[in-house]
Symmetry: C2
DNA sequence: CAAATATAACTAAATATTTAGTTTAAACTA
DNA sequence: TAGTTTAAACTAAATATTTAGTTATATTTG
């Protein structure tokens, strides 16, 4: 699956955040200095050509929306990291991260609890 | 902290793997089609200028080595992902990944066990 | 020491990415 | 409907990345 460049990712994040938006709304989400209309428009059309973004016509312009779930993309990115740095092992990745960042085991226990709770609901 | 480009990362992975290496050994690690000597040499010198790589003289040439721990870089990358896609929350990231990939809770339990075991040793 | 060889440094060119100006088309308004 | 406005499409240029050729330098060997 395709990788987003830095500028592309920034705009995807905004689209994931807003759900859908025209170019003006996207620009609005940038902090100063805001990029030019044409800059954003260009990147959006690149994303369109890469099939990350779709649009529908509305009034005078286009309303853009993401065609790929944020979840799908982040999952793929995590997998890439896991494969490249932890021999594809989820356990390695998590235990490394816990140790490295002094994450309390209580946090892991809480995650387990929450997951088990939701499993019950099924 | 600086981000590695695709070509740079490939070579860093090899250096992390080998510990240290000259250009020839790096090329050797590539599968066909192997890049040209000059290509690898250029990227190594870029990594040098970015302070990712150092070298020492040996005989006729240079022996290169990573100046950044693989652990440091992967930790930073994971943090970036966590911040960008999971509001900086470790719990969100892990529970998302577990659900999304149908990872058995047993895996998480095992991680906990292992960590607790090592904590005892301290 | 001179020639051959191996390697790094320098340079360049192809490609990808980022940024934004100009032109064109659509639709709103007076 | 003609002029004005707004946004998209087209185009271009600056910058970053990737790839590799050429030249310079140092080491080995005959």
């Amino acid at each position: 699956m395709k990788q987003l460049t830095k500028a592309e990712e920034e705009i995807m994040q905004i689209l994931w955040d807003l759900g859908e938006a025209n170019v003006a709304s996207i620009i609005n989400k940038f902090s100063e200095p805001k990029p030019a209309f044409t800059t954003v428009s260009t990147i959006v059309r690149i994303l369109e050509s890469k099939d990350f973004v779709g649009y529908r016509k509305e009034g005078r312009g286009h309303i853009y929306f993401s065609k790929i779930e944020k979840e799908t993309y982040s999952n793929q990115s995590l997998h890439k990291l896991m494969d490249g740095y932890f021999q594809g092992s989820f356990q390695s990745m998590v235990s490394f991260f816990v140790r490295k960042n002094d994450i309390a085991t209580k946090d892991l226990e809480e995650i387990l609890e929450k997951i088990n709770k939701n499993e019950d609901k099924k």
